[in-house]
């Protein structure tokens, strides 16, 4: 049975994979057959359908999250209760203050810039001949891993053969170390996340633009609105709910993403953010308590964004 846990060859690996899927299918089939008898009460069927998913969510999300909150109140080796000391450390030491400052810039800039660019681009290519192709170009980074995106941009920023330094060189600017020079390096990393998220913003906003009723556009045209006036007075107000959803969604994705910074600088040169520092503290420095506090902080930072989002959705639904 050892090979089920530790397959060595490629063939063994694939066999284990199929065993896992078959095992899962068999268990689910048994559950469904048991609960499908009409004589059984309705809650029994509900339990059979919901049970497996809810059990996993309970054991894998809810309980671990509570345990992390607990761990954040204990020392780094987990032995003694320290109250809010870990949080105090996070909010007072220079290292962490830089992390918090960087995170602030990420969460502020990535959603706003990607949404603005996505909206402008969506309007510009809307109903042109090249619409589909033009959108695919901007959308494609969404299919690339953040590790891949990090490598793509690290190459752009490279000191010897990078494109950006070559372009600046044409204007007589000396070679820049984009990723080494704090605090500007954080902004060059932020560019990468903007590059990824603009496609998302563009796609959602493009759908919203296409949903603007023809009458609204016709009426605006009757009033002589064109170009920029059309954009500010008709398009933007019409897609406002979509803009809010996009901004908040990107903000949440940005908070949790650590791959870009880890790939491009490893968090060195004052570029770390909360999501990466969580990883560094937990696995690199064996500082479990601090790591847990950073994870909880991440969660706490997400909350207001979610609450705002849900509230906005309620308001929009009430208007309908």
């Amino acid at each position: 049975m050892d090979w089920l846990m530790q397959p060595d060859t490629t063939v063994e690996k694939f066999i284990v994979m199929f065993v896992a899927i078959a095992l899962f299918a068999a268990v689910m089939a048994v559950v469904l057959l048991v609960v499908d008898r009409p004589s059984l009460p309705r809650w029994f069927a509900a339990l059979g359908y919901l049970g497996p998913a809810l059990l996993l969510i309970l054991l894998g999300l809810l309980i671990p999250a509570i345990m992390t909150v607990r761990n954040s109140l204990y020392s780094n080796d987990g032995s003694t209760f320290v109250g809010l000391d870990n949080y105090a450390t996070v909010f007072s030491q220079d290292l962490f203050l830089i992390v918090l400052r960087n995170t602030f810039f990420w969460v502020l800039l990535v959603p706003l810039v990607s949404t603005a660019l996505g909206l402008v681009y969506a309007v510009l290519v809307d109903r042109t001949r090249f619409e589909k192709f033009a959108k695919t170009l901007v959308f494609l980074p969404m299919a690339i891993s953040m590790v891949g995106a990090g490598i793509i941009w690290k190459f752009v920023y490279d000191g010897q053969v990078g494109l950006l330094n070559a372009l600046l060189g044409l204007g007589g600017v000396p070679t820049q170390q984009f990723l080494l020079d704090a605090p500007y390096n954080t902004f060059y990393l932020i560019v990468v996340m903007i590059w990824i998220q603009t496609g998302f913003a563009m796609t959602v906003l493009s759908a919203a633009i296409k949903a603007i009723p023809d009458e609204t556009i016709e009426a605006a045209k009757m009033d002589g609105a064109t170009g920029m006036r059309m954009f500010w007075q008709i398009t933007v107000p019409s897609v406002r709910p979509a803009i809010i959803v996009v901004i908040t969604t990107i903000a949440m994705a940005t908070l949790k993403a650590f791959d870009i910074v880890r790939t491009m600088t490893g968090g060195q040169f004052d570029t770390s953010i909360v999501a990466l520092e969580f990883y560094t503290q937990t696995f690199g420095r064996q500082a479990g308590g601090i790591g847990a506090a950073l994870a909880v902080l991440l969660f706490v930072l997400v909350l207001p964004i979610i609450i705002y989002n849900v509230r906005q959705m309620r308001i929009t639904e009430g208007e309908r």
């Binding site: 846990m5 060595d8 490629t10 284990v16 896992a20 899927i21 899962f24 689910m28 309705r42 509900a46 359908y49 919901l50 497996p52 996993l56 969510i57 894998g60 999300l61 671990p64 345990m67 992390t68 402008v120 681009y121 510009l124 290519v125 109903r127 033009a134 695919t136 494609l140 969404m142 299919a143 690339i144 891993s145 953040m146 590790v147 891949g148 490598i151 793509i152 690290k154 190459f155 053969v161 494109l163 590059w195 603009t198 496609g199 759908a207 045209k221 170009g227 949440m252 994705a253 940005t254 949790k256 790939t263 491009m264 969580f278 937990t282 847990a292 994870a295 991440l298 969660f299 997400v302």
Partner: protein, 302 residues
Amino acid sequence: MTDNTAVAVHGPTRKLTRAEQRKEDSKTRLSSPAASAIAVIIAVVWTIPTAGLLITSFREPSAIRRTGWWTAFTNPMFTLENYETVLTGSGDLVGPFVNSLIITIPSVVIPIILALLAAYAFAWIDFKGRDWLFAAVFALQIVPIQVTLIPLLSQYVRFGLVGTYWTVWLSHTIFGLPLAIFLLHNFMREIPRSLIEAARVDGAGHVRTFFQVLMPLLVPAIASFGIFQFLWVWNDLLVGLTFARADYRPITVAIAEMAGSRGQAWHLLSAGAFVAMLLPVIVFLALQRFFVRGMLAGGVKG
């Protein structure tokens, strides 16, 4: 042929000729040269970085170190050497590529099935507390993976599972479930109640209703979530880094390691990055409309 019938059926008011349509459209656009220029600039900035690395991956290592990739246009010399090195030579990415496949397939299939069943119960079985339970699952979407990582890891250690594929499959399944349930539930609610009730009147139990009535209608929904989960799992770094031991590590982890230890070896990094990108980009381009549909139905995982 089909176009003509459509016009005939719906009458001439529905469809303008292409020329008329374009004339009409041009009024709603910011149709100045400046606007077009901005669009082109954005498109170029979004494409050039990837194109540059792609070209680099086909250049000779010595050329990559000495000159910028754009010089390849005037002095074209291309080779597949980098891909050979990165796959079978010092890069050794074949193993991690296989691992990514092994990790991804069950991590997409299992949450889809679990979530289909749960979404069915939330949508079509009446039971006490259904609404608040669904709200709770919806709310759990926002729990960052980081918050659950360490307690999960210590449980895996306790059960002697640590480092195996099983923990990676389980973790991806758990993390994917809230979004999957939410998304599939949204799609499932759109199916007319009369269809379900007709099946029940015919004496079909839950299982038959589910497989014969609902499943065929849910194929696009499943495709939507399937692509999300595929891209998420294939491109994931955090879960693979934390749970998979060295010889089971996915390709993202392998590439990230390469970027850390051989950060200036652009002949390896460029080819490696594109080996890792190949599959998701193909899937993405082939199934883009399902992806967009899922995204508009509220499915975005951060």
